[in-house]
Amino acid sequence: MLRSKTFIETYQEDLSLFRTVWIKFWMAILLVGIILFPFMVGRYTLYTINLAGIYIIGAIGLNILTGYTGQISIGHAAFIAIGSYATTILGVRTALPFYVIIPLSGIIATLIGVLVGLPCLRLKGLYLAMATMSFGIIVQYVLFQWEGLTHGALGMAAPAITFLGFNVDSDRKFYFLIAVIVFLLGFAAKNMMRMKIGRAFVAIRDRDIAADVIGVDLTRYKVMAFGISSFYAGVSGSLFAYYTTHVNPEYFTIFLSVEYLAMIIVGGLGSILGSILGALFIGVVPEWLRIFFGFLNNTFHLSGLVFTQQLKVITYGVLIILFLIFESGGLFAIWQRMKTSFKSWPFTY
């Protein structure tokens, strides 16, 4: 059925997130697909997708700060680390249930994010990039050295999740937990970015002085951007700790921050769907390449060809550069173009 132009007749319709019957229809299909997905794939695929789901939350957070508000952060790993360690320490030392610990980890990350955000208010662009990068290095150092709290380089074992008497321990159970949280936080972010806050963020990104002139409180909204971004990072880190069952300071390097930047650049800056696409892409691509390298090995009997951690890092770097040069809108822009050309087929626009 050819869809004609959508006419919006009431204010209610204009506000709604899913405007047409068809969007609702596709969303329903997507929902069913998401629910059926873990029953159709193998354990390893599910593991990859679960990690990608955790990435999505962190990527949305970084996109709010860097993509929407335009504040370059190379210290996102620090907030994820704070979330992870908050979860582990709270889980080991207290008897709080996980549905309290996850938001609490987010809130702890938020508080520290606001603390960091305050001195960074006067900074812009490159200076901010350097400051956040330094913050990331400082946090990693603290995690290594504060052995009384973090057990230093040994890392800590994270607690298990129990919910209403049964253990959330299999990949499939984690899949649903992560899916629910991704849905909630993604939905919240999507709505926030349509609201006053989101518009203020975009105004700050596009021209901060002009935003100030038209009445956007720069201090308040910049700190808010730092806070929200840190909250998402904290929740992402918390889930990461629960899922991988072990946290170690070595994981939270500057490369993790760059990985997250790669996600939002590949996905599309200033777009929630872009964060999701980018995180899935960055989460899945190394696995594809691993399979591809294995295939090459088996077919051509090349023993030396192994997809290593180094190659993974190189892949991320190459992706960042290629996307920035050739498709600065990211996967989101590609998706938009595909959708438009599909909708208006057989016409060009």
Partner: protein, 297 residues
């Protein structure tokens, strides 16, 4: 001389030596920043590649140190030119975010690549300087540190003269000041960009070889450039004099912190510079000598 004072002096001297290398690295950042408003996150990787290249020339090809030194500088300049021509020239006019992210992407590509080519382990750089240290009224200084300081000072002096008196240097300053006006006055701005990258990469090469003499050589060499961020912020991103003084201050500060506080907080030396960076950013975000950006509405 009392032991306490002697210790302080000792720390101060080695701090100056480290700081002078930071200054040379800082100059590389500032030269690129002034010309193109790009902060090159891949600077440390160029530095690291230079050190490894020089090592291979000396160890495997048995080239004399001095010849290897200049060959390395030439290679670095070529790397700088290529990077500018093929990656950053197409990006002229793009947002700062995109360009900076590309340098970041470049840096994470170059690190593992270097490891794959030259190996990931620790290696010893065959230092051309005598191992026996000089003792100068109870203050001990190694030849490597002394030469590091002398060479760094020489580099800084050359830069000072170059920017002050040479035609090219003046053209570079003009282009940094007002690009369009300089262009209209007949300065070849594209050539200036290329030259800036070449010069910056060459200074990275010098710093890399000097550092390889005084440090354990592995892939972490590239992180030294990250440590120079506090120095250039302290001095101001767009000031060469600032990079010099900032580098020296950070070097001395870091060594003093390492010397006095390391007993209580192990490893504090490694992050002291970053903590200082935060403090500087809060007090004077544009640094000691940087131009304060005044925005009027």
């Amino acid at each position: 001389m009392s032991g306490e004072l002697n210790y302080l002096l000792q720390l101060f001297v080695s701090g100056l030596s480290v700081g002078s290398v930071y200054a040379v690295i800082g100059i590389g950042f500032v030269v690129i920043y002034k010309a193109t408003k790009i902060l090159n996150f891949a600077h440390g990787e160029i530095l690291m590649i230079a050190a490894y290249f020089c090592l291979v020339l000396i160890e495997s090809l048995h080239v004399h140190f001095l010849i290897a030194f200049f060959l390395t500088l030439a290679l670095c300049a070529v790397i700088g030119l290529m990077v500018e021509r093929f990656i950053f020239r197409p990006m002229i006019g793009e947002p700062v975010f995109a360009v900076v992210m590309i340098t970041l992407g470049l840096s994470i590509i170059l690190r593992p690549l270097t490891g794959m080519v030259f190996g990931f382990g620790n290696v010893m750089f065959p230092s051309p300087f005598p191992q026996k240290p000089i003792v100068f009224s109870n203050v001990v200084i190694s030849y490597a540190h002394l030469w590091t300081f002398i060479i760094s000072c020489a580099v800084m002096a050359i830069f000072f003269l170059f920017f002050k008196y040479s035609k090219m240097g003046i053209a570079m300053r003009a282009a940094a000041d007002r690009q369009i006006v300089a262009f209209l006055m007949g300065v070849n701005v594209k050539k200036i960009f290329s030259l800036s990258w070449a010069i910056a990469a060459a200074t990275a090469g010098i710093a890399g070889i000097l550092l390889a003499n005084v440090m354990v050589m592995n892939l972490n060499l590239s992180f030294v450039a990250v440590k120079v961020f506090p120095a250039i912020i302290l001095g101001g991103l767009d000031s060469i004099v600032g990079a010099l003084i900032g580098g020296l201050i950070i070097g001395v500060f870091e060594t003093l912190v390492g010397g006095y506080l390391d007993l209580y907080l192990s490893g504090i030396k490694e992050i002291s510079a970053y903590i200082l960076l935060f403090i500087i950013l809060i007090i004077r975000p544009y640094g000691l000598f940087g131009t304060e950006e005044i925005e009027r509405v």
